[in-house]
Every structure is written in C-alpha cells, then in structure tokens.
C-alpha cells in the first residue's frame, strides 16, 4: 500500500477529499458494527424490557437469563459439541488433502501433474447439483451420520491451487538438496515443504474452519431428524425459521422451539446468535495477515 505524504501546500479540494473519505469510513464502521453491538446488547437485556424498544448498544436491564435459558437446552449443548468436532476434524482432513495434492502438483518431475491439475480444475466448474448429490449420500448410507459433515468436502480444488501457487514460490533447490541427502518424497513434504508453507496453510485452515463452523445446510438436508447430530448453526436456523412471519413450520418443532414460544423468542434468538458468532470473532483478526496474502495468491490463475 502506498503512503503518500501530504504536502503542506495541498490544495483545499484535496483536504476536503480526506475529510469526505474519513466520514464515509466512519459510516462504514458504524453500519458494520452497530448491528452486532445491538444484538449483543439485546442478548444481555431483560426480554420483557426489550419489547419496550430503545435498546441501542448497551443493555438497559442487564441479565444473564437469556443465556441461562439457551444453555439449558440439550440441543444447544449437543450442537456445540458437534460443531466443534466437525470444525476440528474437517479442517485437519481438508488441510492434509489440500497440502498433499498441492505438493505433488508443484513437483515438476511428477508424471501425473498435468492430468491431476486438470482433473481438479474441472471440479471447480462442473457440479452435478443438489439432487444427484443427495442421492449419492443416500446410496453411500451417509444419511444421519457424522461422516456426512467431514467426508464429502475433503478435496477442494480451490484450496489445492492456493497452496500450490505458494509452494511454487519456494526455491525448488531446497527440495532437491533434501533429496540428495537421501530424503524420500514424503519426508521432503513433511520436513521441508510443510514448515515453509505455514502462511498458506493458515489461510486454508481459516477458510476450512469457518466453512465447517458456519455450515447448516448439510445438517438440514441429511441429519435433520437425528437430534444427536445437530449443529449450532442448525439450531439457530430452526429458531430463525420458526419465528419468521408466515413460515408454515415444516421444520419439526423440537423442544427448543416449543419452549421459545413460551418465553420471549427474540431475546433468546439474539443470545444464540451471539453464541454462534463468538468463536469466529476470536479467531479471524489474528489470522488476518495470512488470509490477505493467501487470497491474493488464490487470485492468480489456478
């Protein structure tokens, strides 16, 4: 990023320009943050008091009751466990697959390089669609299993290409000298290439983890009826869809939605929203410098 020093004799119009930009940016920050802060305040505010309105970014009658209500649902506890589990397992499996494929594709002496690269690229553009995929999952007997969360998405061409272009930037001589020292190709991958690929791996790990944590549609489609495989996001969508105006409720009313209608659904909804969001908030700012770089790499022709 270029930092251009403001010269003393800058014309008035240029200084005005700075002011306008600063104001717009402040506006952007408010528009982005206010909704989150408002939801946070509502989640800590007494639910009957919230109905009166006027809550902005601070709770008026502070309470932890909304949170104690949601944590008394078994569905939410199970959902939390499953969400954490799928995030950890899905991220690890995805990283192994993407880094191994990327490493082999970055090896100029690998015979299958061209074929595998094309083979993977095609998967980015051609997809069979919802119904054939649904029937496949059914045929594989993966309905109502945990496996359906982590297995289908293991290979992602985009992730492979991001890591591959990163490995291409590492001097190949390092791998060659390891080879001369008698290391086999797997050792080179594990000892030489992986440690130098950390920034790209961190980016991909972030993408994978966020994707896993945020997924709800697979639970809805494949595991909607097994309560012990529910996820946090799915619990949130259930509440969301059951309280939206005009929905006919083709979603099985679990004990959570039943209890919700007896308390104030709005405050409890806000509390669940916060619980689902917090882990993301804790992670992404620290990985920022990695993903900016990683995303830029991914934009390079795959």
């Amino acid at each position: 990023m270029t930092t251009r020093k403001m010269t003393k004799g800058a014309p008035l119009s240029d200084r005005l320009f700075d002011v306008v930009i600063a104001i717009v940016m402040v506006f952007v920050v408010i528009v982005t943050l206010y909704p989150f802060l408002n939801v946070l305040a509502l989640s800590f505010n007494d639910s009957t008091d919230s109905v009166r309105g006027g809550i902005t970014i601070f709770p008026r009658e502070f309470t932890l009751k909304n949170y104690s209500i949601i944590f008394s649902f078994s569905g939410l506890i199970t959902g939390f466990k499953i969400s954490v589990l799928r995030t950890v397992i899905g991220t690890i499996l995805g990283l192994i697959s993407a880094s191994m494929l990327a490493y082999t594709l970055a090896r100029p002496d690998f015979q299958g390089r061209k074929f595998v690269s094309k083979y993977l690229a095609i998967t980015m553009y051609v997809s069979a669609g919802l119904i054939p995929f649904y029937l496949l999952i059914k045929d594989l007997h993966m309905m109502n299993t945990f496996a359906v969360y982590v297995l289908p998405g293991i290979v992602s061409a985009f992730n492979v290409f991001v890591i591959r272009s990163f490995i291409d930037g590492i001097p190949f001589a390092l791998q060659e000298s390891a080879k001369i020292d008698g290391a086999n190709d797997f050792t080179i991958y594990w000892r030489v290439v992986l440690p130098m690929t950390t920034p790209a791996l961190a980016t991909i790990a972030l993408f994978l983890a966020v994707g896993q944590w945020n997924a709800w549609f697979d639970t809805f489609l494949y595991n909607g009826s097994s309560e012990n495989l529910t996820t946090l996001q799915f619990e949130l969508t259930k509440v969301l869809l059951s309280t939206t105006a005009g929905n006919n409720g083709d979603y099985h009313s679990t004990n959570m939605t039943q209890v919700l209608s007896s308390v104030s659904p709005e405050s409890v909804k806000m509390a669940i929203t916060i619980v689902v969001t917090i882990p993301i908030l804790l992670v992404y700012p620290f990985l920022q410098r990695y993903f900016v770089r990683g995303l830029t790499l991914g934009a390079v022709k795959g």
Partner: protein
C-alpha cells in the same frame, strides 16, 4: 501454473523405451502417487460420480430400484420443466438477484477499495479493514438473524431511524413484502461481503508504482484525477477477470440467503433455482424433475462461463479457465 516445466526425459526416445521409462519414473514417483491418488479417487466419488446421476433426469425415477430398472421417459421431465410457470418465476428471481448483486457488489467494493487506498493513517486504515471483514466470516444464519432484527417492524433500527428522520410515519414491514425482497438480499450481500471483496482490489492497487502518483502530483493533478487516471487503470485487468468469473457464476447466486431471509409472504420473489429443485426433488420426492432443474443450472453456468471466457480471450489473448 507457474511451476518450471522440465522436459520429460523420455520425450524424444522410441515408443518402447518410453514405455519402460514410464514405469521407471512411476516407480520413482511412488510416494507422489501415494500422496495424490487417494484424493483423486475421493474427488471421483464426490465430484465426478454424481454426474452419472444425471441419467435419472431422463427417467421417472422411483427409490428402491436400480437405475437400470427405472422407466425411461426421454425429455419428458425437461418438457414439464419448461412448461411450468413456476420455473419462469424462479428463473426470473435467480437472474434478477444475480444481476443486482453483481452490479452492486462491483461498484460498492471497488469504491470502498479506492477510498481505503486513499485513507491516511495506518492505524485507522487497519482498524477499518479488520472491521469490514467481520460480516464475511459469520454464517448466513447469523447474518439473517441480525438482518431480520435490524429490519424488524418492532424496534428495528432501520424503521426507528427512518421514523426519527420523519421519512415514514408507520414502521415498514420490510420482510413481508415481495417487491422489497430482491433489494434486501442485494443490500445484505453488500453489507456482508464488501470488505472481503475489496481485499483483492487493494492488493492490485498496492502493485501500482508510486512514481506514477508522484509524477501526477508534479503535474498538478488533483486526487480525483489521480484516481481516475492512475488507480482505476491500474486495477482494470483485475476488475475484468473478476467480472468474467462472476458472469460464469451468474445463475449460481446461492440459495442460503434466499432460504433464510425468505418466508411464505415473499415466496414469489425469494424462490431461486436451487430451492426450487430442493422443494420438488426432495420435499415432493420428484427426484427426476429436481435433477432436470440441476442439469439446466449446470449447463447454463458452463455456457455462460465459456462465453465470458471467450470474450475475455478475444480481448486480452489470455484465458482464465
């Protein structure tokens, strides 16, 4: 694809030598094969094999029988699809939301990136950037929950603000009116993705030589003129590539936001192709009909992608696929 291509050692030899050489190299590559083949097979199962399922769009598929025991009906499912009025409504919604999203997301994120680039003060800049990414990382479930709260007719901030400004007398039922739905989806998308989309433009801008700006300043160009004559041309090729990629994705607008923000009141405007296939294919168990919808979707996307890429090739002599 920048890896250094080393010429195949066997390239110039006779066929027989080539063959034995192939196995020799394969043996030498054994670890590389062991590390890639399992995933190649994996991709086959989950990305290629489902394409086989396209066959059922030409059948009257019923569960419980193998694909060969089903009744073949030719193009009947497609005929039914093209005669369904709902199909045209759904297609209209899909294209409308895609086009609106495309235009809004490009103009807003490019404008935002330019402003970020002009922003002085590293701390402020970094803070704005970090905050602007935030909505990208939350799920559509969370985003929908937040958006419906903000737009709510009881104490939603948007209604409160508009009433306070005196622009409306009564709270507007934002989520309950079909003709507002496309706009709400577009604005929600802009809110969620602008900061993220701007990253790539900012990276392109960082690559512009600072001397260009220095020279322009010496010539007395104002900041706006510098943006127009240096910054924008500097990110031109990035913009073109991204526009083409999104044209390829024009009818894959996604369905999560429509599913989660929509409700029965706005159904005529919120239903998109994927939801249509979900409803007919899975909820009504018309698997063959649902698959026909998916095939239509995939084929149109591919045609769009190749067309866009063809135009791009002609313009720049380069290919993005």
């Amino acid at each position: 694809m920048q890896a250094v291509p080393t010429p195949h050692p066997a390239a110039s030899r006779s066929v027989g030598a080539k063959k034995s050489n192939f196995w020799k190299v394969a043996l030498r590559n054994r670890y590389l094969y062991m590390m890639s083949l399992p995933f190649v097979i994996w991709a086959f199962v989950f990305s290629y094999y489902p394409l086989w399922g396209w066959l059922i769009a030409f059948q009257k598929w019923k569960p419980g029988k193998s694909i060969w025991e089903q009744k073949w009906v030719g193009f009947d499912q497609f005929k039914a699809l093209f005669q369904d009025d709902l199909f045209y409504q759904v297609l209209r919604n899909t294209v409308a939301m895609s086009v609106m999203g495309l235009i809004a997301s490009f103009t807003v994120s490019i404008t935002f990136a330019i402003m970020m680039n002009e922003l002085r003060g590293m701390f402020f800049k970094r803070a704005v950037q970090t905050i602007s990414y935030l909505p990208h990382f939350v799920s559509w479930a969370v985003a929908s929950s937040i958006i419906t709260r903000m737009l709510s007719s009881d104490n939603g901030v948007v209604n409160d603000l508009l009433m306070w400004l005196g622009l409306i007398q009564q709270p507007v039922q934002w989520m309950g009116q079909g003709h507002l739905f496309w706009g709400i989806v577009t604005v929600s998308d802009v809110w969620k993705e602008t900061g993220w989309n701007a990253i790539i433009y900012l990276a392109a801008m960082a690559g512009i030589a600072p001397e260009l700006y220095e020279a322009a300043k010496v010539d007395g160009a104002s900041r706006l003129r510098q943006i127009w004559h240096i910054t924008l041309p500097g990110i031109r090729s990035t913009i073109i590539i991204l526009v083409i990629l999104s044209i390829g994705n024009l009818i894959n607008t996604g369905f999560e936001k429509q599913f989660l923000l929509g409700n029965n009141l706005v159904r005529d405007y919120s239903q998109v192709l994927d939801l249509y296939s979900l409803q007919y294919g899975i909820q009504l168990s018309r698997y063959s009909f649902g698959t026909a919808i998916n095939i239509f979707n995939s084929v149109v996307s591919l045609v769009l992608l190749f067309t866009a890429n063809g135009i791009f090739k002609r313009m720049t002599k380069e290919s993005i696929i």
